[in-house]
Amino acid sequence: MNARQPIETEVLVIGGGNAALCAAMTAREAGARVLLLECAPRDFRGGNSRHTRNLRYLHRSGNAYLTGPYLEDEFFSDLMRVTEGRTNEQLALLTIRESAEIGEWMQSRGCRFQPPLSGTLHLARTNAHFLGGGKALMNAYYATAEKLGVDIRYEAEVRDLEIHDGTFVSAAVSSGGFTGKVKAKAVVAASGGFQANIEWLKEYWGEIADNFIVRGTPYDTGRMLRVLLDNGARAVGDPRQCHAVAIDARAPKFDGGIVTRLDCVPFGIVVNNQARRFYDEGEDFWPKRYAIWGRLVAGQPEQTATAIVDAKSIRLFMPSVFPAIEAVTIPDLAVKLKLDPDALRETVTAFNRATRTGDFDPSKLDGCHTVHLDPPKSHWARPLDTPPYYAYPLRPGITFTYLGVTVNEHAQLMLQDGRPSANIFAAGEIMAGNILGRGYMAGFGLTIGTVFGRIAGREAARHALQ
C-alpha cells in the first residue's frame, strides 16, 4: 500500500472481528471483490471476538449442543428485561428472527460447536458454545474468508474516511509505516467500540478511568466510530455507559480476557479500601449480578475493592488465575492487603454477628441472609470464621461501550438529517447500541455481529455490484 497507487475494491470491510468476517464472507459469496483491513497483527486478529465463547440464537428445537428450544417470545422478553426497554424494537426483532438457525450458517463456514462449558451450564439451552472458544471461531472464519478470496490485510489501520454528503469515497490507511488510499464502492464499518481508548473514556468518567482495566483487545480505540460521528452519523447509546465487571486487580491492562474474572463474590464479603462493605454480595446468582460489580467497584475510592472468603467457600467457585492472598487471621489478612486491621476486623465481626444459621445452598437463592446489617447480604451469608482466609483484589474491567452509530434494517448508516447513507454500512459493536441500549445478555453481542455482519455484507455487495 503506498500513496501513489490507491487500491480499488468493491467492498471495503474495516475491522477484523466476528461482524467484519461475517460481512466479508457474505459480500464475497455475493460476488463482490472484498478487501478486509484488520488493524491488529495476525496473532491478535479478531477483536473482542477472540475472547468470546458462545452465541445466542433462535432455535426451534434442541440439538447435539443445545439442550432445548429457544423461541422468539422468550428471546425478545429476555432482551427487554436486560435492556429495560432501551432497544430499537424493530431492529431487535429483526436480529432475533434473522438469528434463526444461524448455527448452520456458521457451521458451513467452519464454526464448530460443543456442549456447554463447565462454567456456563446455565446457558446450555440458549447459547451454542464454540469448540475451543472465540479464537478458534475466528481462525475458522479467516480460513474460510481466505478460501473465498477475500483480500485480508493485517496491521492495516484505517486512519480517516473521505465522505461526501454521507457517501463514502475512500479510506486513508496506514500499514507498515506507509499511508495509502483505498477506494471502494461500499464500506462496512465493523471496527468495534472505543472501550480500549482510556482518553476517550476519561471524557465521561474523568481521571478514574486510568484505574479501569480493559478486558479485551487494545485495538478497539473507536477511531472509526469517531470518524463516522464527525462526518454526520447519528449517534446511538449512552456514551457514559459501558459494560464493566469486577475482575482481578492483577490482570494485565488489556486482553486479560475470561480468566481474570472472579466468581467468589457471592460466597464472602467485598470491602473497599476503608475495609467497609458497600453492596449486597448475595443479591442474586452471580451470572445475573457480575455485570453490576464493575460499576460498584468504580464507585469506590481509588476504584479498588477486595473480596474475602474463608476456607469453607474456597472450592465453591471457579479457580482463579492469580493466587488468593491468604492469612490465618483477619488482621493478618488486612496487613497483607494494606487495609486497616481494626477496621477489617470490625467489619467482619459485624457481618458475622448479623448472619443466621440456615440451609446454605449455592445452587439456589438460599435462606442464609443477614439481619440488621447495612448493606445486607441477602443469600449465602455465612460467617467468615474458618481460617485460612482468602482475598482477591478487584478492579473494574471494561468489556464494551454502548455508544455507537445508528443504522436501519439494511445496516445502513443513518445520518443526522434522518437519511440513510447510500454506501456506508455498520455491523457489530459499533452499532450494537441500537439493540442493546443497556445491560447485557451472554452471547448476544455475537448475535448482533453475525446478523448485522451478514446484512451489511449482503447490502454492501448489492450496492457495489449495481
Binding site: D43, F44, R50, H51, R53, R112, Q114, P115, L117, S118, G119, H129, L131, G132, G133, G134, K135, A136, N139, A143, P252, D255, G257, I258, V259, R261, R315, M318, P319, S320, V321, P323
Partner: protein, 365 residues
Amino acid sequence: MLSSDLLKEAERVMTICNACRYCEGYCAVYPAMELRRTFADKDLKYLANLCHNCRACYYACQYAPPHEFDVNVARVFADLRLECYREFARPALLAGMFRRNGLAVGILTAAALVTVFLLLGIFQDSPVIFAAHSGANAFYRVIPYPLFILPFSVLVVCLSAVLLWSNISFWRKTGGKLGELLDPRANLQAIGDALRLKYLDGGGHGCNYPDERFSMLRRYFHHLVFYGFILCLASTTVAAAYHHFLQWPAPYPYLSWPVLLGTAGGLALLAGTAGLLILKKKMDPLPGAPRARGMDVGFLVLLFFTSFSGLLLLALRATPAMGILLAVHLAVVAALFVAMPYGKFVHALYRFVALVRNARERSRQ
C-alpha cells in the same frame, strides 16, 4: 529448562487454563485438569503424558504467545514428556540416552551393524555369504538358527522387563497403586482410546498438524505405523509358530501368512513413517519441543529402515545379495529393539498408562 523450572511453568500454565476452560471439548487433558484446583508434580506428569500434542488448544488459545500470558500447553507438555522419559528410564544409569537421543540411536544402529558384520566375517565364510541360497533353511545357512533365536530371545525378555519396570515406576510416581494399574475396565477403555487414537482427532476434525489447519493426516499416518508394526509382529509370531510347531522353517512362499502379513505391515510402516517424517519437516515448531526432534526423527528413521531392509530382503532373497541384506535387517531390528526403552517408543507406554488413569478418574465421577 531444568526439570523443576519446567514443572513450575506447567503449573503456571495449567492454572491459567483452569480459569479459562475454553479447550475442554478438544481432548482428555482439560476435563482431567478440571478435576483439580492445584497441580502437584505428579498431576502435571500425568497430564503431560495424557496430551497427544494435537495442538488444537495452541491455535485456539487467546493467551498463546505473543500474548503476555504466554500459554503454550502443547510445548510445555512436550518438554515435560521428554523429562519423564528421562526420569523413568530404567535402569536409571541409561537415562542419558535421552539427552541426544537421535545421535544415541544412530550410534546404536551403527554399532549393531558393525557387530553383526564382524560376527558374520569371523564366523562365516565369504562364499557362503555371497552365494545364492534357496529352499528350506536358506537364511540359516548364512546365519545359523541358534544365532538368530538366542540373542533375540534374550533381547525380548530384557526389553519386556525394562519396559515394565519403567512403566510401573511412572505409574507409582504419578500416584497410583500397582493393583489399580490392572483395573480391567480402565484398561479396556484405554485400549480402545489408544487403538483409535481418539485424542488425535481434535474433537472430530483432526489435529492442527503440521500447521494451523485441521487435518487427519497425522492420525492416519500414525495408524499406518502402529498397525504396520503390529502386522510385522504378527508375521514374526506366525513364522515362529510355523518353525516350532509345524517344523516348517523360513523362508516362506510369497503366498503364505508370514510373507503376506510382513509385506502388508512393511509397506504400511514405510508409508506411515515417511508420511510422519514429511509432516514433521513441515510442522510449526512452536507448539512442540525442539529438543525432541532428534528423538522423534531417530525413531521414525529406524522404523523406516527396519521395514525397508525387510522388504528388500524379501525381494532379493533368492539372489547372492541375500546374505548381506539378512545381516543388515537383523542388525537394524536389533538396534530397534535395544533402543525401544530409550527412545520415542516409550511414549506409547506412558500415554497408555495415562489413558488408564484417565479412564479410572472418569469412571469415578
